[in-house]
């Protein structure tokens, strides 16, 4: 390890892998929760170093301007979620919903999931990335089913079936990409490496690439939760442990979208292939419209925010599908802020459903009175996710709608209306949840507020004043995306 960059890339992967094994072996639940936090913190620190120390591109791993954004975001949310998970899990143990054995399993799976996502983001090989995403999917399937209630099993089973079908389609697409590349690049590992694929893409057979992208978009799109393929998402969010809902929404959806973006850039580099943009725009728009209407008439609080994740991933996919520096910039920023906001909302929701003992929304009332900190946290989060100014998501949604308006006014009108519908649904629900006479449990929450505050502060700051260096960085990355 002469190159310091290599060392830190190794650390980002090895820390979660090792701690997964360690956490599976340790019996003490308090210690393991702390170790989980420590491992996630170390991973995050190693990932931030990658901004400055970048290793040479290897045959299997790559760090470039695009994935460094994803990896830092992913490890950061992974870290804050582990902090939240510590206090959440303590309550689950007390109430007897989880036994210590399951807890060991839970922590080991948490770190395995981190490992899978980091590997997917860092891999320079389409095959390796596929394996990593599959690993992440399998671990989340197991975690969703961890409570073993009938509803949790139904959710895990649905997720497993849809997720594995998606993964199978994506593998077929990956094979087709290799087939397109191997006649140009030659057989072997090079024909699966990102950096080689993007460079040589103009020479590939366009017909093969077209078919491959179709499979990849449907396959990885299932994992993004795009609309005709979204059925697993609300159930998986509602029935699993809340830290997993936070990680699913905040990170795993992004990782799948990242895979789509990588393949999109190969498509765009080939002049003969069809433009991938319109497909992504239509899937994205469909997701936004569908999810906006589905937000009404929800009864389960986590399920509602699951639908909200579908909506926001739709917005991001739409923005990337529109393409161009401005839309890409807005899409990238929107994705980042959505991850931060949504995971923080799930932190609040997790504690809320614990103190109230239910996820059924009509039974939860007057949170700002009974639990001011949690209640106002939720109010802030929903205001941010609904796109109220001055939060960052308002700015990015505004940017996306305005750049669309300049190019395709009709699409912008549809998108804008759907955003308003979703906004109305969220505020309607929030009114019932947060205000009025308090209902249900009044026991004080043993919550960890640090992660919530950290996330919301970032979202607020991003909306008011985005530091110029960060702005320049995002613009630079957006320019690279094609």
């Amino acid at each position: 390890m002469t190159d310091p960059g290599n060392f830190f890339v190794g650390a980002v992967l090895i820390i979660p892998a090792l701690s997964a094994g360690l956490l599976a072996a340790l019996p003490d639940d308090r210690l393991t929760a702390r170790l989980n936090v420590l491992a996630a913190l170390l991973t995050f620190l190693a990932a931030t170093v990658l901004f400055f120390e970048r290793p040479a591109t290897g045959r299997y791993l790559i760090v470039d301007d695009l994935n460094v954004v994803f990896i830092v975001l992913s490890t950061f949310v992974g870290f804050t979620t582990s902090v939240f998970s510590g206090s959440y899990i303590a309550h689950e143990l007390e109430s007897g919903k989880l036994t210590p054995v399951y807890l060991r399993f839970y922590h080991a799976m948490y770190q395995t999931l981190m490992f899978g996502m980091n590997l997917a983001l860092l891999s320079n090989n389409v095959g390796l990335m596929w394996v990593a995403i599959e690993l992440a999917t399998l671990t989340t399937v197991l975690m969703v089913g961890i409570y073993r209630t009938p509803a949790a099993l139904e959710a895990a089973w649905k997720y497993f079936l849809l997720g594995s079908v998606g993964i199978a389609l994506a593998l077929f697409g990956t094979i087709l990409v290799y087939l397109a590349a191997h006649s140009v690049v030659g057989e072997g590992l090079d024909a699966m490496a990102w950096n080689v694929l993007v460079k040589r893409a103009p020479e590939f057979d366009p017909a093969l690439l077209n078919l491959a992208f179709l499979f990849l978009l449907l396959g990885y799109g299932t994992k993004v939760g795009l609309v005709p393929l979204h059925a697993w998402l609300p159930d998986a969010h509602a029935e699993g442990p809340t830290p997993i809902s936070a990680v699913l929404s905040g990170l795993l959806l992004n990782v799948a979208l990242f895979a789509v973006l990588r393949f999109k850039s190969i498509m765009s580099a080939n002049p003969g292939a069809f433009a991938p943009g319109p497909l992504m725009v239509s899937l994205g728009l469909l997701s936004v419209v569908f999810a906006a209407f589905m937000l009404y008439r929800r009864h389960d609080i986590k399920r509602m925010f699951g639908y909200s994740s579908i909506e926001h991933m739709g917005i991001v996919t739409f923005a990337f599908g529109m393409g161009g520096p401005l839309a890409n910039f807005a899409g990238l920023l929107h994705m980042t802020l959505h991850s931060l906001t949504k995971s923080a909302i799930f932190y609040c929701v997790g504690h809320i459903s614990q103190v109230k003992g239910t996820q059924h929304m009509p039974d939860i009332r007057g949170l700002t009175v009974s639990h001011p900190a949690l209640g106002w946290g939720l109010v802030f989060g929903v205001a941010a996710i609904a796109g109220l100014p001055p939060m960052g998501l308002f700015m990015t949604e505004f940017l996306i709608v305005t750049t669309t308006f300049a190019r395709h006014p009709l699409l912008a009108i549809v998108l804008g209306l759907a955003l308003l519908v979703a906004f109305g649904a969220l505020l309607l629900r929030l009114n019932g949840l947060a205000f009025g006479d308090p209902d249900g449990g009044r026991a004080p929450a043993k919550a960890s507020f640090a992660p919530v505050v950290a996330h919301f502060a970032l979202v607020l700051v991003a909306g008011i004043w985005l530091p110029p260096a960060l702005m320049a960085w995002f613009q630079h990355v957006a320019g690279l995306l094609r």
Partner: protein, 220 residues
Amino acid sequence: MDRLALDVAHLLAGGLVLVSFMLLYQDRMTGLVNNFALHALVVSLSVAWQAHIQHAPHLYITAAIALIVKAIVIPLALHRIIVQLGIHRTIETVVGIGQTMLAGIGLVALSIMVMLPITAKAGTLTQQDLAFALSVLLLGLLMMISRRNAVSQVIGFMSIENGLILAATGAKGMPLVVEISVAFSILIALIVIGVFLFRIRERFDTVDIHALHQYRGEQL
């Protein structure tokens, strides 16, 4: 390439599609599992033949794994589960067998019409393998949606995996993915059999997925 070598490869890949059809019309659990073992046997023969004609010895490992795990171990395990759970009765289907077969024929026609022109430049072997592989994949999907029983859905999924292995070996010289994807298919099978079936059994005394639907969230 040798004409005979090509013909044998074609025969085996075509045979896989045929066995996929046989999976579709099974109406008894034991028959279904036996048919799946045949499916895995054909895929392992096909991969071994590819290893021979492509001079790619590492593919023999894939073939051996497919043979041992999918054609022997998993079917045996499934038989045990079926006996233990007492579910060797008729398989419940969502739509009739006849319609399913018709849909299957349509899917095969579709995949051949899509794949043959697109892969025209990739060589005869790859071209046919991919067309057949896509057929197997789509037939597996059809099986997953047309069956209600958890075991048949798992078998449908594993037949999709077999189709993917056929595609991966057909793409000449594809590195590492074959081994890894096989390792993963084992993992999936283990997880599915070990975790889900026993949990579902424990909770419901049935492996009929239909029983799960009454527990969908929201129907409060």
